[in-house]
């Protein structure tokens, strides 16, 4: 059975009680801000071109206002006076199977929750907050794509989204440590595990352990060069990813982020450092405290901020001529537009390369690579993801860069696919990999 067929089967099996429950979940996610957003769209269409899906394929269903329109129309049909009295007038439509199908297609299939539409909206509607509420509703009815949910389930069961067992994780870390020691020719280069009282608890994307060990090795090299007191968790609490931010089940997302706070409590580190990952940073820094309904007693830092500080303080010495190929920078949406980390990575790259050039547009205006919002984990929408990525491919091509720095492993994966799909002939690297290469 294909993913699309699976959705249809699940849709057809929904009972009216389940549909009502799904709508109740949507409503429960609204607060006064979101209730106001539902009354704000004027259908001006300014948001259309801000969306990479629409830029790539300019069809109606890719317009953010259209996606939002599905949500607003269902809301109005049930909860607005005129929506009930004269639905045709205000475009209200019932929350039925057809509407649920439209929601799923819009918020899972045509949106990476990048938020670019928000900053370009004439009114200023933060649309992802409503798209998240819609995803939560769909997830509660079991309509979340199964591969996305599998990543969440892995995190809940194994403490990481790739179901890596503890022994495998520890062996990988030991192996990377040996590689690093060989690289820097020093036994002092360590990847410490479970070191209580270390200054930083460092977290990584499981893809680094599984497929990109050089990335973890590069981060460790930076720590080593700076003489930092750091550690990673041997048990749950080393994986920074949190796909609960994408299925939008706050309870599950909270349980996953708790792995990090528990590890912090167990190891009594000063600060939690999130490796290069957009959604991981947003999850731990911004959403985690909301999911757990508590202030974190420790700072949550991006590894980019840490590297920036090392360079500013002269704690690591670099030779930028070791990175002489032109480098451009991709801005992960969760890190930059939703995370506020915009400048540290730029300062790092300016210091460790000889030819850094910005994409156009860049910073908070940069385009999503297409892999955000859990898109990489949803096979059902792969063709759309690659098509929407054509906007990013064009940006990279126009930059004339040979290396694309991507401070996010999900983005790295998507950019790697775009590199093949659009024959960009570039190298995709994390900022740490580029920085580590310049260390002298």
């Amino acid at each position: 059975m294909t993913e699309a067929d699976e959705l249809e089967v699940k849709l057809n099996a929904l009972t009216q009680a389940e549909i009502e429950s799904g709508l109740a979940v949507f409503k429960s996610r609204l607060r006064e801000a979101e209730a106001s957003y539902l009354n704000s769209c004027v259908h001006c269409g300014f948001c259309a071109n801000s969306c990479h899906y629409y830029r790539a394929v300019p069809e109606l269903e890719n317009v953010p206002a259209r996606k939002l329109g599905h949500i607003i129309s269902a809301f109005k049909s049930r909860f607005a006076i005129l929506g009930r009295a004269a639905p045709g007038l205000v475009g209200a439509r019932p929350y039925d199977r057809e509407m649920i199908r439209a929601w799923a297609d819009a918020v899972f299939g045509r949106c990476s929750l990048c938020g670019r539409c928000s900053i370009n909206c004439a009114i200023g509607i933060p649309m992802p907050s409503l798209f998240r509420a819609a995803r939560a509703s769909l997830t509660s009815m079991g309509l979340v794509p199964s591969d996305l949910q599998a990543a969440v389930d892995n995190s809940l069961k194994y403490g990481n989204n790739m179901a890596i067992e503890r022994e495998e994780w520890i062996e990988t870390v030991e192996w990377i440590e040996e590689e690093l020691q060989a690289e820097v020719e020093s036994d002092s280069a360590r990847l410490p595990l479970d070191k209580a009282g270390a200054k930083y608890l460092f977290t990584v994307n499981p893809r680094e352990a599984k497929f990109f060990p050089l990335s973890l090795q590069a981060s460790a090299k930076v720590f080593w060069a700076a003489g930092e007191d750091w550690t990673m968790s041997g048990d749950a609490g080393w994986d920074l990813t949190n796909y609960g931010i994408f299925n939008c089940d706050d309870e599950q997302a909270g349980a996953i982020v708790k792995n990090l706070t528990d590890a912090m409590e167990r190891l009594k580190c000063e600060a939690l450092v999130i490796g290069e990952c957009g959604h991981g940073y947003q999850s731990a820094r911004w959403m985690g405290p909301e999911w757990l309904k508590q202030n974190f007693p420790h700072p949550v830092l991006s590894f980019l901020e840490v590297m920036d500080e090392y360079l500013a303080q002269g704690r690591i010495k670099v030779d930028p001529s070791k990175n002489s190929l032109p480098v451009t920078l991709h801005d992960p949406c969760n890190l930059v537009r939703h995370g506020g980390i915009t400048e540290p990575q730029r300062r790092v790259l300016r210091r460790v390369t000889t030819s850094f050039t910005e994409m156009s547009p860049c910073g908070v205006e940069n385009y999503c690579c297409g892999g955000g919002g859990g898109q990489l984990a949803m096979g059902r929408y792969k063709a759309r993801r690659l098509s929407a990525g054509s906007v990013k491919a064009r940006q990279i091509s126009d930059s004339k860069a040979k290396i694309v720095a991507a401070p996010c492993h999900n983005c790295v994966d998507q950019l790697t696919e775009l590199n093949k799909e659009y024959k960009l002939n570039v190298q995709i690297k994390t900022v740490a990999e580029i920085a580590a290469n310049a260390i002298v």
Binding site: E32, G45, N120, V364
Partner: protein, 231 residues
């Protein structure tokens, strides 16, 4: 009661309905409750305020958003349209005040009155041009047509008609034109809370929340204007 007095009374009643209905909508939205936030704001306690101020000031300038930079004509038409709407409301307010035997214009110098009248006429002209152009654009552009519902057309037609009739009755005062303008004004006021024109209230709430959300996270104002983490 004179016809003008009756019309003014109806206008006041319609305006009262608008305000009350908007208040109802506002409190209904508020009934969803405020979200309690736990994550520490980036850049200190002022970041929310700075973000909100940016959202209402620099963030609304034409060059601040790509969507505006790429749609400058539509943006200009939108500004013109809103100017015309505000001017037509100003004339309705003046009508009500005059109908109840009050006049503020007598105390103003002639030059100020002349300037105000010129600005009102200019704004109404721009408003009509803006309104008609945006209506045509909505009807012709397939994307805009696709995201529109009848309310979008009704709202535009009502507001544009109010501005056009205000202009016509102002330039060529005839009883039937004035009555048509006033009746349109009453319908417009009654319709405001029912359709998308309720954004006259929710725009401010939404825009504040946008600025507060991104300001808190250090994304607004943008780094180039001194915002952001580690800027």
């Amino acid at each position: 009661m004179s016809l003008n007095g009756a019309m003014a009374t109806l206008l006041v009643a319609a305006a009262a309905w608008t305000v009350l209905a908007l208040l109802f909508l506002y409190f209904r939205a508020k009934s969803y409750g405020k979200r309690k936030l736990f994550a520490k704001a980036a850049g200190g306690a002022n970041s929310v305020r700075r973000g909100a101020i940016y959202a209402f000031t620099s963030g609304m300038l034409p060059w601040a958003k790509e969507s505006v930079r790429e749609n400058l004509i539509s943006y200009a038409l939108g500004v013109a349209y809103h100017l015309g709407i505000f001017a037509s409301f100003a004339l309705l307010a003046r009508f009500i005040i005059c109908a109840f035997g009050r006049s503020f214009v007598f105390h103003l110098p002639h030059a100020v009155i002349a300037l105000a009248q010129t600005l009102i006429v200019l704004s109404l002209c721009l408003g009509v041009i803006g309104g008609v152009s945006l209506l045509v654009k909505r009807a012709v552009n397939p994307v805009l047509r696709g995201i529109s519902c009848p309310d979008d057309y009704i709202s535009n037609i009502l507001a544009t008609a109010a501005a056009a009739l205000a202009l016509a009755s102002h330039l060529t005062p005839r009883a039937w034109l004035t009555q048509a303008w006033l009746i349109t004004g009453i319908i417009l006021l009654v319709y405001i809370p029912m359709g998308k024109m309720r954004h006259c209230l929710f725009f401010f709430i939404t825009r504040y929340n946008l600025g507060a959300f991104f300001g808190r996270r250090g994304c607004m104002p943008p780094q180039s204007l001194g915002g952001g983490i580690g800027a």
